[in-house]
C-alpha cells in the first residue's frame, strides 16, 4: 500500500459524496468514458440515443482534453443537469484522472 491512510480515508469519503451527487447510471457512464479516454482504450458502448447522454459524453471528452466544459456545452447541458450535478461531474472526472495517475505510475491496486 503506497497511499498513506490519512489521505486514503478522506479520499474514500470524497468519492462517496461524489457518488451521491449524481445518478448512478450517469456517473458510471461518465467514469467509464473517462477511463477509456485516459487509458486510450476503444469505446465499446453503442452510441447513446438520449441527447443528454450524448452531451454528457461530450463534456467528459472536453474535460479530459481541455480540462474544462466549454460554455456553449455547459448551456446545452443545463436543461438536463443542474449546475450542482455538473460541478460534481467535473470533480468526478478529475478524481478518476487522479486514480489513473496513481495506478499507472505506482502499483496501487
Amino acid at each position: 500500500m503506497t497511499v498513506p491512510r490519512r489521505i486514503l480515508r478522506p479520499w474514500h469519503k470524497f468519492d462517496a459524496s461524489l457518488r451521491r451527487a449524481l445518478p448512478t447510471a450517469t456517473l458510471d457512464l461518465a467514469l467509464r468514458r473517462t477511463t477509456a479516454n485516459l487509458t486510450s482504450t476503444p469505446w465499446q458502448d453503442p452510441p447513446p440515443n438520449d441527447p443528454a447522454e450524448a452531451l454528457l459524453l461530450e463534456a467528459v471528452d472536453a474535460l479530459c482534453t481541455t480540462r474544462m466544459i466549454p460554455p456553449l456545452l455547459w448551456t446545452a447541458l443545463l436543461p438536463h443537469y443542474t449546475p450542482t450535478q455538473l460541478t460534481a461531474l467535473c470533480l468526478a472526472v478529475g478524481d478518476r484522472a487522479t486514480t489513473t495517475m496513481l495506478t499507472t505510475t505506482t502499483n496501487f491496486p
Binding site: I7, S17, M68, M101, L102, T105
Partner: protein, 333 residues
Amino acid sequence: MDAVARFAASPRWEHADPPTISPGGLRALGLRTWLAIRLLAPLFGSDGIRLADLTGRNKAVFHAYLPFGRAVITSGLGRAVTELVTLRTAWNCGAWYEFSHHVHLSRLGGLSIDTVERVTEGPSAPGLHPHQRALLQAVDELHATRSVTPATLTELRAFLSETNVAELCLLVGHYEMLAMFLKTAGAVPEPGAFTRGPLSWLRRPDDSDRLAPTSLPGLNRKVFNRLQILYAPFVPPFAVVVHRGRKSGRTYRTPVLAFRTGPQVVIALPYGDKSDWVRNLLHTDRGGIERLGRLHRITKIHITDTPTAADLIPKPLRPLLRLTKLLVAEVKP
C-alpha cells in the same frame, strides 16, 4: 511590468467568461461555510474565496472535499515541492485562478519569483535544482499521459520514497481536478486578493521578494551599518561585502549575514535582490567578502532561493532563510 502581471497576460489561461456559476450567498452555502468565507477572506485581502463560493453550493461534496484536499496538500512532500508541483500543474492546465493564488502562496514554501518563472519555462529552464527538474518532468508527463515514465520514476526515487511518489500523483491529480472545475465555472482571482491585506507582502511589485519595508535600507545605511561594519568582518555569521559602484566606480563596504559552505558563500537578502550592492555585484560578477578578519575574492555570483540551493544550506538554517532570496558566490582564496 512585474512578474505577476506578466503571468496574467499569458495567452495560456482559459476559463468560462462570463462565469457559468455565480458565487453562492448565505442561503446557497449555509451559515457555516458562508461565515468561514467571510472570516478568512480578509486574510487574503479579498471579499470572498471563489473556490469555496462555488464548490460550497454542493454542501455534501464541499464538506467531504475539505479533509481530502487538506490531506493531499499537507502531504510528506514538503511545502516547497508541493508549491512547485501545484504551480506547474496549474500552468499546464491553463488555470489562472489556481496559478495566481499559488504564485503568492509559494513564497511561504520558499520559492522566489524567479523560480516561479522557471516553473513556467519547464524542466529545461536553467537554474533549477536537479530534483526540481525531475519533479517538473514528472508533472508534465502526468499531465500529458497520466503516468510517469520509468526513466523519470528512477530519478524521482533517488530522493522520494514510494509513498512520496504516490503523494505526488495525488497532488497533481487533485489540482487537475480543481482546475477542471474552476475553469468550467469561470473562476477568476478575487479583486484585491494578495494585493492588499496582511499577505500583500508575499510578492512585491518590484519582484525583489524583500521582507523589510522600503524605508529600512535608508535608515540602515545612515545609522545601523556604521555600527555593524565595526564588528561584521570578524564575527560570523556577519561579514562585509566589498563591491564597486556600477556607475560611480567607487568601492563600497556593506555588512551582510553570510554563511560559508565549502567553496561557496551564501548571503541572505532580506532587502531583496534590487539593493544597490546586489546589483553592483551582479553587474561586475565579482567583488570581495571580509569574513573572520580575512578578505576573499568572490565570483560566479547568482541569485537563488532556499529550495533551489538546498544542498548549500545546512538543514537547521533552511527555515530561517526560506522567505528571503539568497546570493550565492564562489569564494576564491
